[in-house]
Symmetry: C2
């Protein structure tokens, strides 16, 4: 049993998204990404089984999907995607997300 | 790919915790619990492999652990526990949490 306070990882980086691995086990990987406005997790996918969730903790932006499709991403929004399906996030404001990948890749 | 807005599930119930299943797949199950002050997810465990995370979305309370141990639970706190390890949550204020269970039980 392990507790992590995301209030202590609210650190941003001017040159690239700041990434904190909250947890990694054979069951899932939990990662906190902090984006400055304009930064992104580019559209990508991995040819592996599994799914991931992306929860918006704070700030606003867009979820990125295949074929240039986007969806608004606001605090409390949860996106679930297959790992093999193209997915990404673009930050319009400073933005924090929590990604959970099961099983981890 | 599926988006859920937790802003739309901020519903509380006077008699018991309000539970919304956000997602369920062979990879993980994601559940939003909304507690009124004083409600709880009692200490429990399941004899199965896997882990779960509990993220506090809003409100405050305590994470419950074995032998009466407790830890403060505040917004942005993430608890990771084996599914087989006793775990629970007690709400001191109205409180919302997001639980991710991998693999689902």
């Amino acid at each position: 049993m392990k507790k992590t306070a995301l209030s202590e990882t609210a650190i941003f980086n001017d040159t690239a998204a700041k990434i904190f691995v909250v947890h990694e086990s054979p069951y899932f990987k939990i990662i906190n990404f902090n984006f400055k406005a304009g930064q992104k997790l580019p559209l990508h996918s991995h040819a592996t089984e599994g799914q991931l969730s992306i929860l918006v903790l704070s700030g606003e932006g867009e979820f990125l999907a295949d074929n240039g499709k986007t969806m608004p991403a606001k605090p409390g929004d949860v996106l679930v995607s297959d790992i093999a399906e193209p997915h990404g996030v673009a930050a319009k404001t400073d933005m924090r997300i929590l990604v959970t990948i099961a099983p981890p890749i």
